[in-house]
């Protein structure tokens, strides 16, 4: 109460004088921040606007007069007060700056010519701008062994460290992984990890970016380039659906580094390590550089494909490859063409393929998701919330997978919001997650039962019902496991919408531009602009003409139809169903049962290896356009390097194919597609323009209200079995990780994790290899005890490197129950 009245009484601005100019500062704002906003730069090393100030480096000393005469004070530690007079250029300030720099350089080696930071180093720059020019220190400097790896990705050179506390503060405050800390004391102080416990944070790369000297370097960039040789463009990361703003940098036509760009609504300058180092996969030598055609019919060559995928193919030229595709398309029966994927490209790619499918291929069998997300109509039609809204809602309800593993920077934002007290996190999950510590409440449930847990809470006399009814609510809704049906997740939306009608949803879609692909109509029954095919908007109907009448199949339907021999041409648009589709048996039958399989991909993925024709696609960094993040925020992606060989953007392939099939998509450049999207999609009319700001624009609204599934009773439990939960890991078996040299070795091992009590029931030691059986199939995997798993669940990584977890999953079953067998009681191995 007293806080509120104090806030009312307090003036909205505080007037201070900085270098003789009156400045209106925010109450409580730090002097250094007020100066920044007023365009006065105060040099600093330790202060970072996204972390709490510590006053470690003393570089920001300025003369501050609060009525008692001017005194040198660290401007990062002093909040503004009325009538404060600040002088950042006075003689005393300058002497202080010179002194601080002279002292910092006592122990800092002058190895700038061989230091990766040289040329973009705050210490170097500020020494030039504010330093004394010479040093009185003639003694030998302190020496440490040159850089020691503190994780697989980050190296630490302790000689260069100026102890600004940025990396350690970041690890503790922002990332929540305090695995590095100051050790020792005084002159001996140094940043270190605990022996044998590396700084293996998903966010470790940020410490390299915020290090004000060259003490922290990232192994993928070390000695790769000099800053003045870099070419840069601003873009939006499409590794996951958060859409962090990044600066993409290249040297000699090779991507060498991504840096986080600070935008308020999304990433606050942070990136996850997967996004930051994913450029390695762009320059991978395994990229497809020319169209490939299978030497013999695919049905007879799977043995060869298994042995050496590329031997099945012979490189060809675009004309013959596209001619072959067009031939197959023309020969196909009506309605026997399907397009899977499209979530890895730009909005323009998705729009082009959506248009190609509907107007030229005359099919509605399109799906950007591989039955691993929400039903498409819910994903685009639910009342949407932004990340900022999720971070400021009275209650943010998390019913999704572990965000730290799936959408790391969203995890950071929510963690920060929970710590700052701007929202309360309530979580319903089958395991503890990265946010469990920060949640005010964490309900564990069996896989697939989140909806019934929620229903019991909201219909009973639990206080949660009242809390949700009275305040603003954002639900972060995602598929927490692919081994349960999408309906289970849809039902959560139904339960909430029925009881908390004012709740808004942030759909935790995972794959890069899946939201953009759905917005562009890459799902059965959907059209660009979040419209239903059943009632196409006028502008769209005018441009596209007649649409396929019948609603098509989704990914499951497409693969089932292909398995039944009903699909003559199957396009895999950057999709790899053999790896990513939950049900690997259906995926295998579908891909082998389809007539002609055309993979548009950058790598010969497992599925592309089974294809008849592989068309090389340009990827992130090699094409421009726009992308859409999970909020529906449209932002620009930039083109910086040339695609290898003759690889080209997906949209271009669609446009050429259209011509060869006797149609015309009506555009010849990305900009024309962008303009067409803006003109036919009411949702995107204001969002897309030639000069999209860094923040991007949220495309809001949908042309329809989604229908919710009816609520079910939770599926019966198998009393002797365990419920399979397929969790995600940031470093998984996917192509981004396996093709990025820096990340490939970090891929998680595949184990089954169960609650210790459940392991006791199984009756083996933690780490033993056991057999796991479902109705569908069986696998051998090590089983490990983990107290973070809810009783009754068994958690396995999906997709797993080397292990086909999908063999256990029947995509048509609501949940997957498994039994664990330990061969006759004896402990194997």
């Amino acid at each position: 109460m007293s806080d509120a009245t104090a806030a009312e009484a307090a003036p909205s601005t505080v007037e201070v004088t900085i270098n003789g100019v009156a400045v209106d500062a925010q109450p409580g704002e730090l002097v250094i921040a007020a100066a920044d906003r007023a365009g006065v730069h105060i040099p600093r090393f330790c202060y970072h606007e996204r972390m709490s100030p510590v006053g470690m480096c003393r570089m920001c000393l300025v003369e501050i007069d609060t009525g008692r005469g001017p005194q040198l004070q660290p401007s990062c530690m002093v909040p503004v007060s009325p009538q404060m007079v600040v002088d950042t250029t006075s003689e005393r300030t300058q002497r202080a700056q010179e002194g601080v720099l002279e002292l910092l350089l006592i122990n800092h080696p002058l190895d700038c010519p061989v230091c990766d930071k040289g040329g973009e180093c705050p210490l170097q720059d500020q020494t030039m701008a504010y330093g004394p020019g010479e040093s009185r220190f003639v003694e030998e400097k302190r020496h440490f062994p040159k850089p020691i790896p503190i994780s697989d990705l980050v190296h630490l050179d302790r000689e260069r460290c100026i102890l600004c506390d940025r990396c350690t503060r970041f690890a503790d405050e922002v990332a929540g992984d305090p695995l590095i800390d100051f050790t020792e004391r005084g002159n001996e102080t140094q940043v270190l990890t605990f022996p044998g416990e590396p700084f293996s944070s998903y966010f470790s790369g940020n410490t390299v970016q915020i290090c004000p000297v060259g003490a922290l370097t990232a192994s993928p960039y070390r000695f790769k380039a000099r800053p003045w040789d870099l070419v840069e463009t601003e873009s939006t990361c499409t590794t996951c659906a958060v859409g962090c703003r990044i600066a993409v940098q290249s040297s000699r036509n090779e991507l060498v580094r991504y840096l986080g760009v600070d935008i308020d609504p999304v990433n606050h300058g942070w990136l996850c390590d997967k996004g930051r180092f994913a450029f390695g996969s762009v320059g991978s030598p395994d990229r497809v550089t020319a169209p490939l055609q299978a030497r013999t019919p695919s049905s007879t060559t799977s043995d060869i494909a298994d042995a050496e995928p590329l031997r099945r193919f012979q490189p060809t030229d675009w004309a013959s490859a596209l001619g072959a595709v067009a031939g197959a398309v023309k020969a196909a029966r009506p309605g026997a063409i399907a397009v899977l994927g499209g979530a890895r490209g730009t909005n323009e790619d998705a729009y082009a393929w959506s248009k190609l499918a509907r107007t030229v291929l005359r099919t509605d069998h399109v799906d950007a998701q591989l039955s691993d997300g929400l039903p498409a109509e819910l994903a685009v039609g639910l009342p949407a919330a932004t990340i900022d809204e999720a971070c400021s809602a009275d209650t943010t309800l998390l019913v999704c997978g572990d965000l730290r593993e799936e959408l790391p920077v969203l995890h950071l934002r929510l963690r920060g919001a929970a710590r700052a007290g701007t929202t309360r996190l309530v979580e319903i999950a089958p395991t503890t997650t990265g946010l469990t510590r920060n949640a005010v409440r964490s309900e564990q449930c069996r896989g697939g039962e989140a909806a019934s847990v929620l229903r019991n809470l909201l219909d009973g006399d639990d206080p949660l019902a009242g809390e949700l009814a009275s305040g603003s609510v954002v639900v972060v809704l995602g598929r927490s496991s692919v081994s349960e049906s999408a309906e289970a997740t849809a039902e959560v939306a139904a339960v909430i919408s029925a009881r908390v009608p004012h709740a808004r949803f942030l759909v935790a879609a995972r794959r890069g531009n899946v939201r953009g692909a759905l917005d562009m109509g890459l799902a059965p029954g959907l059209l660009p602009g979040r419209a239903l095919s059943a009632s196409p908007p006028q502008e769209l109907a005018a441009t596209w003409g007649e649409l396929p009448g019948e609603r098509g199949h989704d990914a499951t339907g497409i693969l089932a139809a292909a398995a039944a021999g009903e699909i003559d041409v199957l396009f895999l648009l950057g999709a790899d169903p053999l790896t990513d589709f939950p049900d690997s048996m259906l995926a295998r039958l579908g891909v082998s049962g389809a007539g002609t399989v055309v993979a548009v991909d950058s790598f010969v993925s497992q599925s592309a290896a089974e294809a008849d024709i592989v068309l090389p696609a340009a990827v992130f960094g090699e094409k421009s356009g726009t992308t859409t993040n999970l909020e529906g925020r449209v932002s620009a992606v930039g083109e910086l390097v040339t695609a290898p060989g003759s690889a080209r953007p997906d949209w271009m392939i669609a446009a050429e194919l259209a011509v060869l099939c006797g149609g015309d998509l009506g555009f010849l450049s990305v900009d024309e597609i962008t303009a067409e999207i803006a003109s036919v999609c009411a949702t995107h009319a204001s969002a897309i323009g030639p000069d999209l700001a860094a923040d991007g624009v949220v495309a809001s609204g949908a042309a329809f209200e989604p229908e919710f599934p009816t609520e079910h009773v939770a599926p019966a439990r198998d009393a002797y079995g365990l419920r399979l939960v397929c969790s995600r890991k940031l470093y998984d078996g996917g192509v981004t990780v396996s093709q990025t040299p820096a990340l490939a070795s970090l891929a998680a091992d595949t184990v089954m994790r169960v609650h210790p009590v459940d392991l006791e029931r199984v009756g083996v030691e933690s780490g033993t290899e056991v057999e796991v059986h479902s109705d569908r199939g069986a696998l051998r995997l090590p089983i490990v005890a983990d107290a973070g798993i809810a009783r009754g669940n068994v958690v396995v990584l999906f997709p797993s490197p080397h292990i086909d977890v999908g063999a256990l999953i029947d995509v048509t079953a609501p949940v997957t129950d498994v039994r664990i067998e330990t061969r006759g009681g004896e402990v194997p191995r």
Partner: protein, 209 residues
Amino acid sequence: MSFFSEENRTLAREIIGRYPKRRSAMIPLLHVAQAQAGWVTEEAMVEIAELVDTTPAEVLGTCSFYEMFKREPVGKYLVNICATMSCALAGAAELMEHAEERLGVRAGGTTPDGLFTLASAECQAACTEAPCLQVNYRYRYRVDTDGFDQLVDDLAAGALDDEIPPHGVTARVRQHIPAGRAVGAVPPEAVNEPPVWIAASASNGAGSA
């Protein structure tokens, strides 16, 4: 495998229970660890991290800040001979030389039998009693060479066991606070009311103990 003995695990739990935040128990637990092993082992730091819900890196950071937490094995008796001004004037250097000869190790070293670690120390604030030394931080005043030999003999023979416990033991009698008399583990952020002395005029009391 756990580092703490059963008895010390119980003690650790009791100590943790005294604080609103588990992390506050870090330094007391480091003392318990040092008392148990004579020095702070890596296993001890890992286990403390687990007990107080933080990372080993943070425990190491705290532990290494304090000179008196030893992260290498030290002898049963840590002999710190003062080398600062008053003691130096009163013959501390000669005393150190004698000590090195007598124990057969250099300052900083530990005798092969693991009984003594000899160290040179900064001023121990007993300048009127120079030259002085400490054995496991227990003072010995105006120590001459004969006195030093006598001290070493007594320590080795166990004659001073009552007075000087092995290195790491801070006190023989440990404070035990019955659970009912603990202040009440209310984390600071859970306290909404102003402090009692401010709210003295208010009708209701403070805290939700």
